[in-house]
Assembly symmetry: C2
Homo-oligomer: 349 residues x 2
């Protein structure tokens, strides 16, 4: 072998580049270094064809030495798959959809699939634009998510593509939706306070127009029965409403020994107002939240017993369901059951 | 023209599909419907070549009618660009990096570029894997971000690729970093309380080991001079620390008429403890936060005057800088100046 540096394979044998600074190593470089044809190099790297083990190993060593990374785009075109999925949200990947994205990324990356994000800002024109762009990129599928548990119409795509709805379900039963079982989460909180011996339990939740507020109130009622004191109070999702709700309960519901709240912010407000009016949490009144949002639940005085929505698990299921759809399977719609997290606002009560 | 439905162009003329249900329209379908060659159709759709205006319009109308979306992957291979960038974070796209992602998406989507997300969970092996995967997909560039203002070593990529560091700068001056001017934000808060006539101002901030805590304390000190009462108190980023800091100030700093805090959680704790010990905010003591995190700043009693970090603007600048790098430009590293948001914790004081 010549030692002429110009283009000779031996010259290519420096780690991390191809002998052409700034140019990625190509399969031709790998073939030259291994002393095989491009076709043989391709078979060796793709684990196809009939090759001697020694040849395959030599090609792979050459690829390693050159830092050859291949080209996922060329592979995508030949396989008909892009190993990319789109995730479209109406929620700016906020408090609720961010864990869903991370869970989905988790499930998808195990299948070597990466996620293209598209935030529609609740704008239909923008959504249509992003969907066209995703389809034109040949995404294997699309996950659609949003901030609300209220169902949304199916997305409109110019060509058929596998779609999974996460958190925000599709209005069409033909679609695959992965949602939260909000009633079950509230039922778990209610069961917990009954287990502490509480018998005069108030329910304070969010707007009467929000499906999750309605479902959480219904879930608590189903467990509490006549241990529920008065009707559920609907308001908004804020600490301020939690504080006001305590005053309203005092006026209309009489003495209560537990308050099951629709989210952590309401529960934090309830705890603050109870303390400021001379009642101890949990000794006098046990309080539960919903969401397990650390900045609220842990900062509360005392820290909140609350419901972990397991949004990351919801995202993982959505990711796995999408992979199943892409592979030609027929995954069913599912609802994730939240879990109770017990902290000082009920513990030791 | 024949009206035989089998494969005749007229048969293709239904909106949204190609005559082969479930198969996206191909350029051959467009060419057939327009009655031109595939080469002519390609030139018409790409606005290249010498064609009659009428021919170009007819091809475009055919593409529209068939819902032809082209193939961004094929276009990417021929252009040498993928119109995709990677965004790598060590922060699980948390509180700080999420607005950066959205800002970057905003800037990039204007250039028809979409963002592939990769969350490394602070794991070096995972980071290396994601970087290889992004490079293999031919991303035009990479934005690297994290939760901290502390610099990080440059990423290691198998081939050269344009990179911009956002929020968390690179340790290398050769890299392009877009950061926050933390000192300027704290200086703005300090200037504001001096403008209210306050002359005994305490500074309470986060861990002494955090660069942003140090910079915010230094920024406040630079403005306050001898109106700063005692040394800055370093603790952690929690409400609990804010409450404790009030007791510590009472013991060691004497009377104060303003507290400039290192974040919103500390400021909320300071407000709560001041109220609980009989002092009015802002009449007796003006309080400022930092971050403008709505769930804390707006829920505080009273709502907080605070510093908006403009993370979305930081993300937009990072996105635009990356586009500039990709186009062969040489963008400079920049620092975004935060802005003050005035609310009840100082207003009317």
């Amino acid at each position: 072998m010549s030692h002429d540096p110009s283009g000779h394979p031996a010259h290519l044998g420096r780690p991390g580049h191809s002998g052409h600074p700034g140019r990625p190593a190509r399969i031709a470089d790998v073939a030259a270094l291994a002393g095989v044809s491009i076709g043989t190099a391709s078979k060796a790297l793709n684990d196809t064809g009939q090759l001697r083990t020694e040849t395959r190993a030599r090609v792979k060593a050459a690829a390693e030495q050159l830092g050859f990374v291949g080209d996922a785009r060329a592979r995508a075109l030949s396989s008909g798959r892009s190993y990319t999925v789109g995730m479209v949200t109406t929620d700016s990947f906020g408090r609720f959809t961010m864990p869903v994205l991370l869970g989905a990324e988790d499930a998808l990356s195990a299948g070597e699939v990466m996620v293209l994000v598209a935030d529609t800002r609740d704008d239909h024109v923008r959504e249509a634009h992003y969907l066209r762009s995703l389809v034109s990129r040949g995404v294997d599928g699309i996950i659609v998510t949003g901030r609300s548990a209220d169902a949304r119409p199916p997305i409109e795509v110019p060509v058929p593509v596998p779609v999974v709805y996460a958190l925000t379900p599709s209005t069409s039963d033909a679609d695959v939706s992965v949602t939260l079982d909000d009633a079950a989460g509230a039922a778990a909180a209610a069961t917990h306070v009954l287990g502490l011996g509480r018998r005069r339990v108030a329910v304070v939740t969010g707007p009467v127009t929000a499906r999750s507020a309605e479902l959480r109130a219904a879930g608590a009622r189903s467990v509490l029965g006549d241990r529920m004191t008065g009707e559920p109070l609907f308001g908004d999702w804020s600490e301020r409403w939690g504080r006001r709700a305590v005053d309203q309960l005092d006026r209309t519901h009489g003495r209560v020994d537990a308050v099951v709240c629709g989210n952590d912010q309401i529960a934090r407000g309830v705890c603050d107002r109870l303390r400021e009016t001379g009642r101890s949490v949990p000794a006098d009144v046990a309080v539960t939240g919903y969401d397990d949002w650390d900045v609220v639940a842990l900062a509360s005085r005392p820290p909140l017993t609350t419901v972990d929505m397991r949004l990351d698990e919801l995202g993982r299921i959505a990711g796995r369901s999408l992979l199943e759809l892409v592979a030609g399977g027929r995954p069913a719609s599912t609802a994730v059951t939240p879990t109770l997290v017990v902290r000082e606002s009920t513990a030791g009560a």
